[in-house]
C-alpha cells in the first residue's frame, strides 16, 4: 500500500535526515516507527503527505509516485490520509466542531453528513461535551483527541500519527494509543512514530527502528530496543 523506495533526504542546510530507506507497509497494518529525536521519523511522515519531497528515491502510495502528483491529486491523497501531529495543529479560532467540520468541508462532504458525523466522531474520542469549545479551552490530551477526530472523520485509508503522545502524561498517552488501536481494528492502516518505550510495548505490532536516518531493525511483533 505504501512503499518507500531507496529514499534519501538531505535538507538545504546539509543535515542528513534519511539515507537509502526502503520498506513497505501492507493495508491494515499497525506500524510503529521508533528512534531517537533526529533519527528521521518525522521526515518519513512528511514525505508521505507531500509536505516535503525526497532528495532521491521515491515514495509510492498504491503505485503512484507522491512527488509526481499535481495539486489536485495531492489534495485527494491528503484526504485519504488522516494526520495527527505532536503539536496538535488545531486551528485556534475555530471551535472543536468547526475544526473537524473543516476537514469534511474540504473534501466536499454535504452539510447533512457533516452535521451527523462530527458529533459522532467526537463521541468516539469521548469529547462530545466539548463540541463548542475553542482549542485553547482544552487540555493537551483533549486537544490531541480532537486532532484524532479530525484525522479519522473522513474515514481515511491511512492514519499517520507523528509523536502524538509526545506532550502527554501516561494516562492520556494510554488513552490515545487505545483510540489508535481501535481505529486500526476497524480496518485503517496506522503509522505511528514514538520514542516512548511504554507505547511500543502496549501496541505489540510491527516495529521499525531508525537510527541516524537509516532503518536498523524491522521486527514483526517487535519490542522496543535501542
Amino acid at each position: 500500500m505504501i512503499y518507500y523506495d531507496k529514499v534519501s533526504k538531505i535538507y538545504p542546510d546539509k543535515s542528513i535526515a534519511l539515507v537509502d530507506v526502503t520498506f513497505g507497509v501492507e493495508p491494515k497494518e499497525f506500524v510503529t516507527i521508533v528512534g531517537h529525536s533526529g533519527a528521521g521519523k518525522t521526515t518519513l511522515m512528511k514525505l508521505l503527505i507531500a509536505e516535503d519531497r525526497p532528495t532521491s528515491g521515491a515514495v509510492f502510495m498504491e503505485s503512484s509516485n507522491i512527488s509526481h502528483l499535481n495539486k489536485k491529486e495531492m489534495g485527494k491523497l491528503r484526504r485519504r490520509i488522516g494526520t495527527i501531529f505532536q503539536d496538535y495543529r488545531l486551528i485556534p479560532n475555530k471551535t472543536v466542531y468547526e475544526n473537524i467540520a473543516f476537514a469534511m468541508e474540504a473534501s466536499g462532504k454535504r452539510d447533512a453528513e457533516i452535521a451527523a458525523d462530527v458529533p459522532h466522531v467526537l463521541e468516539l474520542v469521548d469529547l462530545g461535551h466539548k463540541i463548542w469549545n475553542f482549542p485553547r479551552e482544552l487540555s493537551g490530551g483533549e486537544r490531541q483527541r480532537v486532532a484524532i477526530a479530525r484525522a479519522i472523520v473522513n474515514q481515511p485509508d491511512i492514519v499517520i500519527a507523528d509523536e502524538p503522545t509526545g506532550n502527554l502524561d501516561p494516562t492520556n498517552t494510554f488513552e490515545i494509543i487505545r483510540i489508535l488501536q481501535k481505529i486500526n481494528e476497524l480496518g485503517t492502516t496506522v503509522l505511528l512514530t514514538t520514542h516512548n518505550k511504554g507505547v511500543v510495548d502496549t501496541v505489540k505490532g510491527r516495529v521499525i527502528t531508525m537510527e541516524k536516518g537509516k532503518v536498523v531493525r524491522d521486527d514483526r511483533g517487535g519490542k522496543y530496543m535501542l
Binding site: I49, I91, N93, A103
Partner: protein, 318 residues
Amino acid sequence: MLFTTFRRITRTGFVNFWRNSFLTFAAIVVISLSLCTLGGIIFAGAFGRSLLADVKEKVDINVYFTLTAPESDILALKKDIGALSEVASATYISRDQALTEFKAKWQNNTLIMQGLDEIGGNPFPASLNIKANDPGQYGSIANYLESKKPIDSDGSPIIKKINYQENKLIIDRLSRIIPTVEKGGSIVAIVFILVAIVVVFNTIRLIIYTARDEISVMKLVGASNTYTRGPFVVSGIMYGIASGIITLILMAAFAYWSDALVLRLAGVDIASNFQLVVNVLSAYFIDNFTQIFILIMSAGIILGGLSSYFAARRYLRV
C-alpha cells in the same frame, strides 16, 4: 458543489472577521486611513479646481468704446469676437447699463452721486466684457482686436481702450501657475496613493502571517488552494467595505465642518461675497456622491481583497 464551496468560504470569512476582532480592528483602522488619504485627495482636487475656476472666472478683458461709437458696429464686433474659438463669452454692456450699474453700486454715497449729477448726461462708455476659455488666450484675443481696428462710418476708430495691458502681468502668471499646480497636485496624489497601497498590503500581510500555520494545516488536511485562501479574501473584502463606510462618514463630516469653519474664519459678511468658496466641499460631496461612493468602496474592496489574495499566496506552497 461550486455554490456550496462559495457559501462555505463566505461563511468562514464572515466568522473570522467577527472572531479575530483585534486583527479586524487593526485592518479597518489602516485601510480607513488609506481611504481617507484618497478622500483627502478627492477633496483637495475639488477645492483646488473650484478655486482655480473661481480665479479664471475673475480674469477677463474689457474693451471700452468711444462715446460716439454706434451700437450696431459694437454688436457686429461682438458677433465677430464671439465666433473666435478662444472666446468663452462676450458680453455687451451698453452705456445706459453701465450708468445704471454705477448708480446701483454707489447709491448710498451722496458725494459720488452729486458728482455724477454735476457732470450731467452719461459719462460711461459702452464696453464688451470678454472671457477666454483659457487664461493663456487673452493675448491673442487682444492682438486680434488691435489688428482689426474697427472703424465707424466716419472712419474714426470705435475702440478707445483695451485693458489687456494692465492685466497682462497677472494673466500671464496665472496661465503659467495653473498648469503647474494641476500637475504637481496629480504627482502628490499618486505618491500618497502608492504609499497607502503599500501600507495596506503590508498590514494585511502581517495579519495573514499570523495565520500561516492555520493555512498549512488546512492544506495538510487536503483543502484546495481556493478553499484555503477564500475565507481570507472574503475577510479582506469585508475590511474594505467597513473601511469604505467609515471613510464616507468621515468625509461627509469633514465636508460639513470645514465649510462651517471657512464661514467662521472668513466672517459671515465676507463669506457672503465669496459664495463659491463657502460650501464648496459639501456641495461637491452631495453632487458627486454616487461617484465618490463607488470610488471609495471599490478602492477599499479591491485593496482589501487583492492584498489578502496575494498575501495568502506565499503560505499556500505546502
